[in-house]
Amino acid sequence: MTQRPDNRAWLLMLPAMSVLGIVGLVPLIAVFNYAFFDIFTLQSRFWVSTEWFAELVGTPDLYAALGRSLLFSTLVVLVQFPLGIAIALMIPRGRLAGSLVLMLVAIPMVVPWNLIPMIWLNLLHPTYGTVAQMFDAIGFDFDYKFNAVHTYALLVTVDTWHWIGLVVILAYSGLSAIPPSYYQAARIDGASRAQVFWHIQLPKIRPVLLMALLLRVIDSLMIYVEAFGINAGGPMGATAFLSLELGEEINAFNYGPAAARSVLYFLLVLSVAWLFRVAMQRETQ
């Protein structure tokens, strides 16, 4: 006879669930409904059935934007994870010094979103920008406005500056949770620094890294303010990510197509989140 779990604990979840219901579920349902209308105001709405969805999935634009978003997320992960883990490994183990470094890397995360493009565009300003002057000094022609590779490089740099703290903090917390006995055993066996990393540290921080990966992938798929502020999807739409195209629809008051896009993105994010859940479940088995 197995003991049934006590489900009364769910009652304590009720307040949180009702708030989530109001801020999450209700708008989602409304947006889903709007997706089937040509809608500007609630009074002037026309039922168009699946027209917006057909338009979206039937044109190559969506897949191109999806490709750009996936490229950006891939670059973000490829840069931020090795870098974040490396920084986490270098953080001193002392309590005070460690905390100071963690606070330092966390500062960019509390900078308001709409300030970020301003900060970076100022750094790159041709006459008074520090970074622009450095590029000038070494004779490097950095042109984020008209060179797609440079725009991507800038966006990945900005995103890394903004979010590397998250990867560092999660990796650091994973590293701190490794019992000292593992390191003692490694020292007795005469393991090299690299062997300790590959066989002890990396496997032990895998679960938190998966969590960080989930957060970074979803956040980088949602990037809007930075990308819009820096080059508004340019040059020639090379950085027009899914979120930027959605923003454009909303700004043009095309609420019906924007709602249809939102539903598609919701499905996309839901699939990504589910894949991560599967991966994490396998991790624990």
Partner: protein
């Protein structure tokens, strides 16, 4: 509720989803089950299989819309076959 722009098609859609969720919750309470490992190599319960079915059905419908473009209700037949497959093998 008018601000949510309800129509019968979307109302029926959400009613079906809601009743599915309620049905599966009742089933899970009345007939507890042990998770099973299927073709995906992960443990799934009936609820997991329902989720996979619903998410997959959404993409099947979108695919039908993009590739066939007409007679959308027939996409539901594909969804039902897919649902049967998920509940049998996943």
């Amino acid at each position: 509720m008018d601000w949510m722009a309800w129509t019968w098609p979307t109302a029926i859609f959400f009613m079906v989803i809601a009743s599915l969720l309620v049905t599966f919750t009742v089933l899970a309470i009345k007939f507890p089950e042990t998770p099973r490992r299927g073709v995906l190599g992960m443990e799934t319960t009936r609820g997991d299989r329902l989720f996979i079915t619903l998410l997959g059905s959404a993409f099947i419908n979108l695919g039908w819309l993009g590739l066939v473009g007409t007679a959308q209700p027939y996409a539901m037949i594909v969804c039902l076959i897919y649902a049967a497959a998920v509940f049998r093998w996943v």
